[in-house]
Symmetry: C2
Amino acid sequence: LALKGSNYAGLLERHRIHTKNVEHVVDSLRNERIEVRLVKRREYNEETVRWADAVISAGGDGTMLLAASKVFDKFKPVIGVNTDPERSEGHLCLPVRYTHSFPEALQKLYRGEFRWQWRQRIRLYLEGTGINPTPVDLHEQQLSQEQYSRAHINERFQDQRSEISGPHLLPVRALNEVFIGESLSSRYAVCSVSFRENYKSCKPSFKFSLHRASYYEISVDDGPWEKQKSSGLNVCTGTGSKAWSYNINKVANQAVEEILKIAKKHGGLNLPLNAELVQKVTNDYNDSLLYSPEEPKMLFSIREPIVNRVFSSSRQRGFSSKVCVRSRCWDACMVVDGGTSFEFNDGAIASILIDTEDALCTVLLEE
Amino acid sequence: LALKGSNYAGLLERHRIHTKNVEHVVDSLRNERIEVRLVKRREYNEETVRWADAVISAGGDGTMLLAASKVFDKFKPVIGVNTDPERSEGHLCLPVRYTHSFPEALQKLYRGEFRWQWRQRIRLYLEGTGINPTPVDLHEQQLSQEQYSRAHINERFQDQRSEISGPHLLPVRALNEVFIGESLSSRYAVCSVSFRENYKSCKPSFKFSLHRASYYEISVDDGPWEKQKSSGLNVCTGTGSKAWSYNINKVANQAVEEILKIAKKHGGLNLPLNAELVQKVTNDYNDSLLYSPEEPKMLFSIREPIVNRVFSSSRQRGFSSKVCVRSRCWDACMVVDGGTSFEFNDGAIASILIDTEDALCTVLLEE
């Protein structure tokens, strides 16, 4: 790592801080005679979840997403503790001060000084010819030789199963968002080959360039199908409206200023165009992109839509109860919470919606 | 392909059309007793360019980018013929009608009914510890076993060369843009493994999920260094201002309408907010994103900047003569025209600028 110029000392320190914070949480629980199983990412599975009365994630928002990804029981609370506040926003975690005084959080839970919060999640149905409903876990850094073979066998098995075209309910629930887009550009296929020392066997790692437009058709709330070309489609929950969706949709101060300047030039602005007005308008616009995690509605956003300059009546963004997408992509994926991926190529049809039965149970402590 | 649900008949037809169009161009040239070498992508190299007095690309915009990528002589004309008008915009090519009547274009060239157009291009310097100035061609669909080994040897050789930290002028000139961003998210590492029938040997192909924020520091026109976190940095030419840059920066009708509504709510709009005003403002704003390919200036754009809601004075977009970027990325690339890629990881520093000596010579036919 140091040879690459990475900050090894910094990584080590953050690991030390994280480990200390985890110990604090575990000790606080055991001091209350609560039975605790401490599991790492790779050991965390549905059996562990079944054993638990509640699940606490210790890490950042990504760890919380991982923790939630294996919980399908609406009444099993999942609580996030942010053990890496320097690096993680902790949107999905308890406020940072409980990281160092977790007993305070436990006391509030005991005294009922909290309310339940149900974060709505998205479910996915997949159908069509040649679909592959096998999820792939993106949190694995690399596949071992054994996993290559297993995936290979899965793929061959899938070829036989692709005759069954009825809608499959995928074994995932999106807490933040589902993102659909081309993951591999066959024009921009192989980026570079590097053999790293930390690979158990000498496996090439391929890096792929990012950009190739995604083609698909979209129908919102059972409306008419519309062909689109873009950098991808994001469908999020209220929770996810603060995440990637926010970054796709938010407008910059600079852009608002220029838009208002142009409107003024057309004679349409009578207030002085000062920094204060620009900031207000920018903030109001960006605030309108956020909504409550408990609202059972989805926000879909087209990322970098490719359109011509003719006035288009189709919306770049909107709320909906149901989104259907037909892939016309060459090599695309549906990615759930940045953690699980499904092939989504030409011929596949996804139905995306919220069922309140899939909500995730979390807590909001009183302040 | 058909098993995957791809439109094999459609692909075949487009190939037929392309082949017919190429024959038309070659025949038109030979009818004028012009010596023609017809080369495919893999045979196109610098020796061929040296042999030629002029280069004609037959394909879409991508083929034109490829053709230009091997021309470094300011006085060697490169002309694009769009043989795939159904699928390619042809921004970089002659107007589509010359595809079917190429002799007409030749006549104009003979009679001087054209002017030279010099499309400015971007050059890149790379320096820093552990850098790897080896370019990787993204237009290869896959590397053969032999190329794996060669790249491997290159990599080992590079490890010895990384002591030389002085700025390397990279052997590329960007006609559209340089894009810098994380190409591999180590959190979202391996997407899926599929073994395809058309691979000569049984090689796994890896697909990677798209999203991991890029960390870097940027200095514009030798200004102060600024830390940024975003979905990537795009630095384009006037030519490229119509390409990916445009899609990153353009504003949607819907967004302008909402911004003007909010401004009106704050009492700042006296014109009626009608569709016509919204369209005018949208068009003016989007037009302002474009500029002449011959202007020796670059447009940098931050894609999906990650900022907090405090008023930020740094611009999301702007013109500049020079952009310097220090990578703080884990696994990033600098991608030139979507075709060539360079590692750009923590420790690497890129200097990005336009030198008019690097301009590409093209033609604008009189209409």
